[in-house]
Symmetry: none
Subunit: 223 residues, 2 copies
DNA sequence: GTATATCTTAAGTAATTCTTAAGTTAATTC
DNA sequence: GAATTAACTTAAGAATTACTTAAGATATAC
C-alpha cells in the first residue's frame, strides 16, 4: 500500500511518515503543493493525505487539479481549521475524507484503513437499474426486461459512463476519455453517432434511453 | 489459527464463535457482507466461514470479489438452501467446501480441520460439467462423453479458466495471468491461437466449445 | 543431444465497429 | 419568425479486432 503525504509542517510530516511506515505502508512525502501535485499525477498511490495549507499551491487547488485530470486516487484532507465550510468545500472538491488538526495518529490510521477498504470495494458494485433498464457491468450488457440490447463496445461504454454518473452532466470530453483513455481521443461527432445508434437500438427493443441532452454542455441522466 | 466468520444470524454467529474459540481458534466475526469482505481483504485469515444470505452484499458476491482480488484464503460456504444448484454455484465461484444448514457443530469443526490440513489449496470439486463437456481439474483433461479432447497445457488452462469463471467476462489479461502468472505475460495473439486450436479440436470431437467472444472485452461462458 | 511437442509470431482473411461527412432536425438568439 | 448554432441521423469508407494457419522458436522428454 502506497501513500503520498503532502504536509507543510516538517515535524508533523516526519512523525506521520515514520508512523505509517512502521505500520507497513510505503510512504512518499513532500511539504510543497506543486511538488505534491506532480507526484500525485505521476505516481501510483492508493491514498493521498493532503494538507490544505501549503506553500506554492494550496491543497484544495491540488485536489481540484487532480480531479479534473480524472485521477481517482482517494484523498484524505487535513486542515487546521475546523470550520464546517472548509470541510464541505473539501468534500465538494472531491475529497474522500476530512480530518481536522489536531488529530490522534490512531484516528488517521483508522480513516486510512477505511479509505483503502473502500478502494478495493468500489469496483465491484456491478449492476445499475434505471427505468427498467439493467446495466450489467460484469457482462458488459444492457437489457430491458429479458430483452438484451446488443450494443457495440463504444455504445456500451457511453451508456455505462452515463449510468454511473447520474444527476451529473457528462461532457463529451469525459465520454471521450472513458472510451479512449487519457492518451487518445474520440471526436464529438463520433460520440453523437454512437449515442444515436444506441438510442435507436433501445427504441427498437421498446424503451427510450433515459439520457437527456444538455445542449451546450453534454448529457445527463435524471430519475 | 485465525478464522473469519461472516454470518447473518447473531445467535448462530455467537454460538459458532464461542465454540470455535473454546477449541483454540482465534475468531473474528461480523454479520454484514460488506464488512466481512473488507475484513477478508485486509485481515490474514486461515479460513473464512461465509454465509450466503447476508445483508448489504451476499456471500457469493463476497466470495467472487475475494477471488477476483486474488485472495486465496480458504472459504467454507454456509447455506440455508440445500439445492444442488446452490452448491455447484458456490463451488464454481471459488469456495473450497460447502455446508448446508442445519448442521452440527461437530460437522463444521471436522470440515474446518480438513480445510486447515490441506497443504495446498485444492477445490473440493474437481470437475465441471457443461454442455456435455466434462472438465477434470485433477486429471487436467477435457472430455465429451467418453471421447477425450486432447489439449496442450495452455489450451487446457484457457478452457479451465473460462469454465471456472462462468457468467463473467474473462479478459485476455486475466487469461494471460492464468497461463503465465503475475510476473510474465502471454500475448493476446497467442491466446487467440490457443483458443482457436482448442475450438478446432473440440469441433473435431463433435462439440462446439461453449465459449463466446465478447468483442472488445474478452471471452465468456454462459449456460 | 536428439526428437518431439508446444508455444509464439506473423501474415492473411473475415467480420465487426468506428469515424467521417453531409444532410436533417431541433433549439436558441436576435 | 428568420438566422444561427448545436445536436441528430445516416451511410460509406476506414480502421480495428478477432480468427485461422503455418512456420520458426522454444521447451520438454527421452
Amino acid at each position: 500500500m502506497k501513500i503520498l503525504l503532502v504536509e507543510d509542517s516538517s515535524s508533523l510530516r516526519r512523525s506521520i511518515s515514520i508512523g505509517l511506515q512502521n505500520l507497513g505502508f510505503t510512504v512518499d512525502d513532500t511539504g510543497d503543493g506543486s511538488e505534491g501535485l506532480s507526484m500525485a499525477l505521476t505516481g501510483d498511490y492508493d491514498v493521498i493525505v493532503l494538507d490544505i495549507m501549503l506553500p506554492s499551491i494550496d491543497g484544495l487547488t491540488v485536489l481540484k487539479t487532480l480531479r479534473s485530470s480524472h485521477k481517482d486516487t482517494r484523498v484524505l484532507l487535513l486542515s487546521a481549521k475546523s470550520q464546517p465550510e472548509d470541510k464541505v468545500k473539501g468534500l465538494l472538491t472531491g475529497a474522500d475524507d476530512y480530518l481536522t488538526k489536531p488529530f490522534s495518529f490512531d484516528e488517521l490510521h483508522a480513516r486510512l484503513l477505511s479509505l483503502l477498504r473502500r478502494g478495493t470495494l468500489r469496483k465491484d458494485i456491478d449492476n445499475v437499474e434505471l427505468a427498467g433498464l439493467i446495466l450489467d457491468m460484469q457482462l458488459k450488457t444492457l437489457r430491458f426486461g429479458n430483452k438484451f440490447i446488443d450494443l457495440t463496445p463504444n455504445e456500451y461504454k457511453i451508456v455505462e459512463c452515463l449510468f454511473t454518473n447520474q444527476n451529473i452532466i457528462v461532457t463529451p470530453e469525459k465520454l471521450s476519455e472513458h472510451l479512449a483513455g487519457q492518451y487518445d481521443a474520440v471526436s464529438k461527432n463520433s460520440i453523437e453517432a454512437h449515442l444515436s445508434s444506441a438510442r435507436k437500438k433501445a427504441k427498437l427493443a421498446g424503451v427510450e434511453l433515459p439520457i437527456q441532452t444538455k445542449r451546450g454542455f453534454g448529457y445527463m441522466i435524471t430519475q
